[in-house]
């Protein structure tokens, strides 16, 4: 167990070294010339009102430009709800809850 932990820590240190090196190479934080601020975000900022009719650009992206993603977001939530119900819900007969039958604690 100890050796495994030491290995994991060494791996994490290597990963940290990689992270530092790559952080140094990233575009500078907060600069308006970053590749992130390209024609994509320009259109979201300047045309959102004209093309979708809402003032909040984040809403325009979430519910219009990338509405397909939001559909899957609600589906993720739905999946989680179904999975929780399948695990915990007790139905009318007592024995049917997921693992009352062979619980290891009596």
């Amino acid at each position: 167990m100890k050796i495994r932990n030491v290995l994991i820590v060494i791996l994490a240190l290597i990963a940290l070294y990689g992270i530092i090196i790559s952080v140094a190479e990233m575009p500078p934080y907060g600069s308006p010339d970053n590749p992130v601020h390209n024609q994509v975000s320009e259109r979201y900022i300047h045309k959102a009102l004209e093309e979708t009719g809402v003032l909040n650009m984040v809403t325009a992206i979430v519910l219009d430009y990338r509405a397909y993603d939001t559909m899957f977001e609600t589906i993720v939530l739905f999946t989680a709800a179904i999975a929780v119900v399948i695990n915990l819900k007790k139905y009318h007969d007592k024995s049917s809850s997921a693992d009352k039958e062979d619980s290891l604690i009596k």
Binding site: G53, A67, Y68, T74, F78, V84, K89
Partner: protein, 139 residues
């Protein structure tokens, strides 16, 4: 819980909390917030209610069948609104392209499809959160 003061305070606050949640949901188009945040606030009002008044009371206010229906149809609503685009001959989930009116910017029903989508997602998030809370609390 027997706490009288808590129950009274909650009884006064809760309607406003719920209303505030719907306010946030509906004003997602023009102010910060939106469907998810507002849905969580609406859900929180019910969660607070059933924490103070007990789970059975909460179940009485929001029966399981209502939760299951809103949960399923909140998501289905989104998809059906998307299908409008297909019926109009434009791609899935098209908004202004499908002939919806943009409305006045900043007003409640601006942005064509967006308020409808927000309402669906908000109700759906609220019901899911309440379902999660009830199911986990029951255990």
């Amino acid at each position: 819980m027997k706490d009288y003061i808590l129950k009274r305070i909650v009884a006064v606050i809760l309607p406003f909390m719920c209303m505030y949640g719907f306010y946030v949901i509906l004003h997602g188009a023009s102010s910060p917030g939106g469907s998810f945040a507002g849905g969580i606030i609406v859900a929180l009002s019910f969660i607070v209610f059933s924490t103070i008044y007990g789970l059975d009371e909460g179940r009485r206010i929001l029966p399981e069948s209502v939760l299951v229906w809103t949960e399923s149809f909140g998501t289905l609503w989104y998809g059906l609104l998307g299908l409008i685009g297909i019926f109009k001959g434009v791609p899935f989930l098209a908004n202004l392209l499908a002939g919806f009116k943009p409305g006045t910017p900043g007003s409640l029903f601006s942005g064509g499809l967006i308020p409808l989508l927000t309402l669906g997602v908000g109700i759906r998030v609220a019901s899911t959160m309440v379902t999660l809370f009830f199911t986990i609390k029951e255990e």
